[in-house]
Amino acid sequence: MANSPDANNAIAVRLFETVWNKGDFGVLDTLIAPDALDHSTAGGVPKTERGSASFRNIVGMFRHAMPDIHLSIEDEIYAGDRVVHRWVLEGTDTGGVMGMPPSGKRLRFTGTTIVRMEDGKIAERWANLDELGLLQQLGVVPPPPGA
């Protein structure tokens, strides 16, 4: 049975508050469908992965890099089976982002995530974040030409 948009939003919010902000990976499988599709832009190339592993890997990488990580929701829109969040993620890079040496820097970047819910679980996710801003804060890419 399809959940109400409010109930769908609560599940998407729970992923941010429980998994992202507290590192409670135990609830992942209650929030994400086993065959969920995850659309990301890893490696500069958009790609799609199936299952909860990519959710686990992405959150795990960022939580390892920034143990004090905190994701705050800035805006939310939800209707039907879709939930949209605009967020800001902040934390101190003591563990190294994406396999890079720790920068020790306080990082802050924004993103938007859209999920499609099915039977009370996240069935599909699309995310787009300010990768350029993140990489510039880390000092690994120069400002873009013309900036």
Binding site: S40, G43, I58, G133, V140
Partner: protein, 153 residues
């Protein structure tokens, strides 16, 4: 505004304004002082947005924003839209000389509509880093890094 009218409004922003570069559309669908926000830039007002559209069309041949009705999510006076941009860089853009390369990036935008039913604010996250990478305009300094960008969050 009913749902269909709002979906049409959001799709016109991409189909008529951004893809067809019909800048007169801006006068119909945007509030005069509308705000267009990217992580790295912000544009205030219809005229600023028209200039941006024209400049991007000069740089990218066949610049197209692909949207679907299904990709528009509505909640009262707010809307979200996911899209895919394609084009070929045929002229200098943001200091990057013409490469002739085809580019394609996904993006998503949150819209806020005013009481008039026009767009008051649009906040965009696009795969801008991917666009720069596709144009060969950005490289990582870190030698051990094999993945140029993080996963989606």
């Amino acid at each position: 505004m009913d749902r269909d009218a709002t979906v049409r409004l959001v799709r016109r922003f991409y189909d008529d304004l951004w893809t067809r570069a019909d800048v007169a559309t801006a006068d119909e669908i945007l509030e005069p002082e509308m705000l267009f926000v990217l992580p790295f830039a912000r544009f205030q007002g219809r005229e600023a947005l028209k200039s941006l559209v024209v400049a991007n069309h000069r740089a990218f041949a066949g610049l197209t924003y692909h949207t679907t009705a299904d990709g528009v999510i509505l909640d009262g006076r707010r809307a979200a839209c996911e899209w895919r941009m394609t084009g070929r860089q045929v002229a200098e853009w943001n200091g990057i000389p013409a490469t002739g390369r085809e580019v394609e990036i996904p993006g998503m935008t949150l819209f806020e509509l005013g009481a008039s039913g026009q767009i008051r604010e649009a906040r965009v996250h696009n795969h801008y880093f991917g666009l720069l990478a596709q144009l060969g305009a950005v490289t990582m300094r870190h030698p051990e890094q094999d993945s140029a960008a993080p996963h989606g969050a």
